[in-house]
């Protein structure tokens, strides 16, 4: 789960990381008020859960409250990468001497958290990483022991941070580790961490991602989820424990297992079709889940055929078949459906579907071919 910049920075602040003064606003009028309270120069920053806000005109500098209101109005009217801007963060502007990149994330290859830092922070950090990898410092953290102060100092040394800032940087690093650990984050990123002209370290921008699988013990964070920023079908899918991603093709798929779901998409493409979605019903999918999945797939108007590919293991094919029947009864789909059931209780599943009007297939290749054909015929 992604958090907004303002949410991330509020968490940072709670853990003792300095952030600029400021607050979030939902209207231009509010933005003006905040600007009045803050005084001085102001930054207006769109709060959307995608990157590239700056290039899209979603971050602006205002010299006074009136200007702040005007710019907030403009930004609140924007749509960035398909997402309408619903909130802006109104921060006091900082005079910047240097921009540092600093993050803690998990390194799956090392099976450990890792600190990443660079003296060349800012929006071009990925380019720096690709072209001048020696400018990036990476230090792994023992997940049982946690971050040790000497490692934070090693980062400071590694990015040639002037010595006068080592103590403050170490405090920020230890605090960011606590943020990462205590929120079950998969990412806690400060970019840029700036040295201001007044010789202070401040986290100017922040980004956090929380492990969805840990939200059960993070009720406060779970409530921060901004569903405005998500595709409604994906919200609906999550409610049922389904993993759904909408795509641009015409063949809907419902598959159990992420690997097989991706493979089914690959094979649809291989036989000339275009997948309309990724949908993994997960292990042990029951009738209710399957029915929800079918509803979600069929809300996509582009779908011209649906491929069900279920290989039973934890998932039992008879349960899936029941779900399909429930959903068909409810949704009364008008597009052709190709179904393939193999594995645990496949026989029972097939029997249940015998009287439903569905195309059946033996192999995945066969199923994909039939789905592609059916979609063409339907046109």
């Amino acid at each position: 789960m992604k958090l907004h910049e303002y949410q991330s920075k509020n968490i940072f602040s709670k853990y003792g990381i300095p952030i600029p003064k400021g607050r979030v606003a939902a209207t231009a009028q509010e933005a003006k008020q905040i600007a009045e309270e803050l005084g001085g120069r102001i930054v207006i920053k769109s709060q959307v859960l995608v990157g590239g806000r700056g290039k899209a005109g979603g971050v602006k500098l205002a010299n006074n409250p009136a200007e702040a209101q005007q710019l907030a109005e403009q930004i609140l009217a924007l749509e960035i990468k398909g997402l309408p801007v619903r909130k802006v963060l109104v921060d006091e502007a900082s005079a910047i001497d240097q921009e540092i990149y600093f993050a803690i994330t998990n390194d799956r290859a090392a099976k450990k958290p890792v600190m990443i830092a660079s003296a060349a922070g800012g929006i071009d950090i990925e380019e720096v990483a690709a072209k001048e990898p020696e400018k990036i410092i990476k230090i792994h953290i023992d997940p049982l022991l946690g971050l040790r102060e000497y490692q934070a100092r090693d980062v400071a040394v590694g990015i040639d941070l002037p010595r006068e800032y080592w103590k403050d940087f170490t405090k920020i690093a230890m605090a960011l580790w606590n943020v990462y650990k205590e929120t079950d984050a998969t990412l806690a990123e400060i970019n840029p961490l700036v040295i201001t002209k007044e010789k202070k370290l401040i986290a100017l921008d922040g980004k956090m991602m929380i492990d969805d699988n840990a939200l059960f013990r993070q009720p406060e964070l779970a409530e921060m989820r901004d569903t405005d920023e998500e595709v409604p079908a994906e919200i609906e899918a999550r409610k049922y424990g389904l993993s759904y991603i909408k795509l641009d093709g015409n063949i809907g798929c419902m598959v159990n297992g992420a690997g097989l779901a991706m493979t089914s998409m690959d094979v649809i493409k291989l036989f000339g079709g275009e997948p309309a979605n990724f949908l993994d019903v997960g292990g042990g999918a029951d009738a209710k889940k399957v029915a929800a999945a079918m509803r979600i797939i069929l809300t996509d108007k582009n779908v011209e055929a649906v491929l069900f590919n279920i290989f039973g293991g934890i998932t039992r094919c008879d349960e899936v078949a029941k779900g399909i029947l429930v959903a068909m009864d409810e949704v009364k789909p008008k597009v052709p459906m190709v179904v393939r059931l193999v594995g645990t209780n496949a026989e029972e599943g097939r029997k249940l579907l015998e009287n439903a009007n569905m195309i059946t297939a033996e192999t995945l290749a066969d199923a994909a071919k039939k789905a592609v054909e059916a979609a063409k015929k339907g046109k």
């Binding site: 390194d107 997940p143 492990d211 159990n256 690997g259 997960g282 934890i314 995945l364």
Partner: protein, 286 residues
Amino acid sequence: MSILVDKNTRLLVQGITGNEGLFHTTQMVAYGTNVVGGITPGKGGEWVLEKIPVFDSVKAAKENTDANATIIFVPARFAPDAMFEAADAGIPLIICITEGVAIPDMMRVRNYLDQKNVRLIGPNCPGLLTPGEAKVGIIPGNIAIAGNVGVVSRSGTLTYEVLYAMKNLGMGASTCVGIGGDPVNGTNFVDVLQMFEDDPNTEKVIMIGEIGGNEEEKAAEFIRTKMTKPVASFIAGQTAPPGKRMGHAGAIIEGGSGTAADKIKALEAAGVKVAKHPEEIPTLLK
């Protein structure tokens, strides 16, 4: 011969009285797997399938059954504790089927288990199948036959596809190892490839990968430099949309690698034949 599990496996089931645990215990026992005990705290003293004793702790189960492997079916929030418990009880092989275990927990589990010389398969995996000897997991037993092809996979159901296609061609598996698709897990491709390379009964290997991470790239390097046995592969996710980006940090840590194209290129450079769809894989080893 086989790797990891066989007729001598004495298996415990953690979460044996739960829905999934009980269902799959029944399936495993029906297959002939030697399930010697189960664990559900608070249900010690009960029996499952009339012959499998239930214990309150792995320690008690180990002491009473001399088990040498355990399979975990408990819910995700309890799975880390179940793995710690099994490792502390001295079980040398842990198979965790549970999906949805949090990454911070898995980093702690993995780093702890590495100190203990314990082998973990999974989590979020279908487990192990040595056809005709032992089914330790949820791979449907009837889709695979015994043979000399080692199968290792990050995926669950996709693995079944491949085993099923193998069977339809009359090709059998020595052992099928589902290592699971989670970002932080136990045993990886290279570990299993090494075991297959060392197993006299395995003559060929099928490796099923997917996008994300760089385990396939490491496996390719291992195959190129250390393996004598032929390997065929499939990589899922060629049409998948890019996953959720982990800020800039993800890009920095993972670099450019992780796409299906990258992985296929690395594998082909290592002499691995890469299939276009899963049912094609076994034909590449004929």
